[in-house]
Symmetry: D2
Subunit: 264 residues, 4 copies
């Protein structure tokens, strides 16, 4: 199996912010993409990684690209509003049909994540070089496999509770910050036939995505979020189900002419 990953980057800070240019000379998306490729290779997984940037979003997040994407990572911060609503809804539709989504850090405020959560996704923040420690709280979760307990991030923007999200379906990581705040930093959500893993470490002003442990988390998460082999990429349907539709010889197409799903 080849894992097909699309790395979406806003690529705005990289154009004007010297600190970001020093940390990520080829853009944050390049560091994220290379980290995924290398770490997954070490885990024996072949990958095909594409880059999608806000400037070429109409092409790089087209319906065709998303249909061929197993897992989409999403980093955005200052230009969430520049993502067309239609593309945000397209991403959401593909998640519901089975595509994995990894919203990273400030993507808590991205359009696709907010649409999928239904909440404000508000939180506390402070950009003041806090130390962050990322703790595993699930003993058998594949996203925590091989990850140090805790991951120590020497400097990072603080994200703190109350984080206005639905209770995660699985809580993998919790973070504390040197300033005393806590945060649900690694959260799994199931939506439709797709999987979403929100991971908060990773601000543009800190070299977080260069850290091997962070790359390992992202690699684990990509494996976790990918659709399973042999599952069709379709949404859960609305169907008029005639009586006994699920019995041999009885089931026919629904009123709307579409055959009823016999496998979810």
């Amino acid at each position: 199996m080849t894992l097909r990953i699309t790395v979406f980057g806003e690529n705005r800070h990289e154009k004007f912010d010297q600190r970001v240019q020093e940390l990520y000379p080829e853009g944050m998306h390049t560091t994220i993409a290379e980290g995924l490729t290398r770490t997954l290779a070490e885990l024996g997984v072949e990958t095909e990684v594409r880059i999608a940037l806000l400037d070429d979003i109409e092409d790089t997040l087209s319906d065709e690209v998303l249909a061929e994407t197993d897992v989409l990572t999403w980093w955005g911060h200052i230009a969430h509003d520049d993502v067309p609503d239609e593309i945000a809804e397209r991403v959401v539709r593909h998640v519901r049909e089975g595509m994995g989504l990894l919203p990273l850090h400030s993507a808590h405020y991205s359009k696709p994540f907010r649409l999928l959560m239904g909440t404000t996704c508000n939180l506390l923040w402070r950009n003041d070089n806090d130390e962050e420690r990322v703790w595993t709280v699930s003993g058998s979760h594949p996203i925590a496999r091989g990850v140090p307990h805790p991951i120590v991030i020497p400097g990072q923007e603080m994200y703190g509770e109350m984080f206005d999200i639905p209770a995660p379906d699985e809580q993998v990581f919790l973070s504390s910050f040197s300033g005393g705040e806590v945060f649900r930093s690694g959260c799994c959500f199931y939506r439709g036939k797709g999987r979403v893993f929100y991971f908060s470490p990773g601000d543009q002003e800190y070299p977080v995505y260069h850290q091997a442990e962070i790359q390992r988390v992202l690699a684990n998460a990509a494996l976790w979020a990918a659709p399973q082999e042999g599952r069709e990429r379709t949404p859960v349907k609305i169907s008029n189900a005639p009586r006994d539709w699920f019995r041999d010889g009885v089931a026919g197409p629904g009123e709307d002419g579409e055959a009823l799903d016999r496998v979810i």
Copy 2:
């Protein structure tokens, strides 16, 4: 305490469908409102119940009305699209700030519910007079208090799985139908500071809302969903939190000039 309930009714079938007119001569909303008033009175709870109809939705679901509403019940079916987006978003905003919401039956497809879920809310259906049995699966849930196990509904539209919703935060009821399908018929969701209880029994072509057991469920749910006394109706905020903001004498307003919440 007086529980302030607003009963939203689409009131469309009532205008042209003879079967519905016979079952609900004064409209489904009236039956729902009267059932809530009577059942809550029996439970010793005083209520103030308003009716809001699609025809006067701009007035009856105004910001002022919602701010004075503890719990909003919502029934809609053929005219979901006639609810203005702005009002759907207003309802969602009030839920996030603490208002309770009870989407009923075909309101699985209403705009506010879909916005709060983030999923398609698709399902199977069949209008063929199925018997529905509503089973309690949570031993200590207040919404199941005093409710028969099972509630038997002699005739009802079938709603079946797969129901495309996020996994409920609390599963209170599961239903089976005479045709063999199952459904997660009573589901609790926490969103922001608000509570949502989706309850599927109740189609316009069956006298479900006249059934005392169903009225009891709705009354229990209204009590469960109401905001707690002494809690402010505000959303979870996004705030820039200066270091040590939570220590005595240090905390000041955030960068945006708004004081940080010290009580959620």
Copy 3:
């Protein structure tokens, strides 16, 4: 309604440890009991509080006492093994039938809590005067009502993850410590017809139970955990259910001669 609370205290440290005697001259149980009584009175709730100590546990946690107890708080540390297995199982049985249980701090290792969890309940710890900050992560939870965000506890034993418990049914509080660790410090569990709230702040060597915010949490938790009026205190039963048992005129006693539950 009068809320009937039984406060179980191990009362061992109090007998030989001077530091504990200074902090809690009448025993930790007395401080806990008085805090509950006073805080609940302020909330308008009448209480009837009994004390149960390890030395008189056979009498004070008898079947009769537990049957008349709405909520049992449990503090123990160095003498968990001195609690007879039979009494631990009795407590567990009453929880399953509807009694509320509040295991406090080192009661993570108490026999009733471990029996109810099914896990080791292991954790990290350090007794080194850490500052603990208790953060609310659920926007509408009654146990967080009126509680500062965060509660700051100036000195406290550190309890850290990985805490080996089942994922809580509701996560109310998360704590961070000055040493950098995090902990799921306020956790709700539903078991049978009963409710369990584990709350970790509260070591014998620190004056935690004298803090008004902590007393408020315990008072809120007692209200949350109490069985609802009008619910019978019985376990979920195993029953042989004859076909159509739930239809009028058909249901009879199960094979074992016991009538089937028609209300959970």
Copy 4:
């Protein structure tokens, strides 16, 4: 990877009950083991399957065998009490350390399952040849991969709600029965570092384990429950954690002389 499965069978009905002998001439355990081997082979997974029977339980569920077992399936019914407490606790210990456990049908009452749940595990039942339909309610769960929606079991013992278990961490399947009852028939639980999948179809008097769809569920579940490669089989530990133990060069063994876990 070779998946190492141990199939535990009580093998009592097989000794005296003619109906069972006809359905399962070589014992239910043999049918379960062969179904797992064949189905996993079809999925491209190599297996090593051992049989463990109650008569030789001391040897076949020894500490050594369990340490070499990735997933243990458990079927028992009339002889739960003949399983020594020590062996039940041994199984529980291995689950907490990472072994997968699949309790089947009447194993809802087995000692290991009850110890892991902490509840009574009571339910309704009726042995009267009900039709059971097993519906998928999780759109992306690997245990539902390739499984018909619904699985129809022509004849089966009815298991009905209220089933006294903690709310499952993941609900995969819900069943309805021709008599009208519903049941949470496929339930995932995380306990310590291990995974538990309870699956209710499968009574000794019906040929359920010969059904290919049921075999597929068990194969999927074995893959889901198996410990992940590269994860050590150890319990979550209790440890005294010196300040800064997680920083480079500072961490030493805990007070108890055991090194602290740096990977969960």
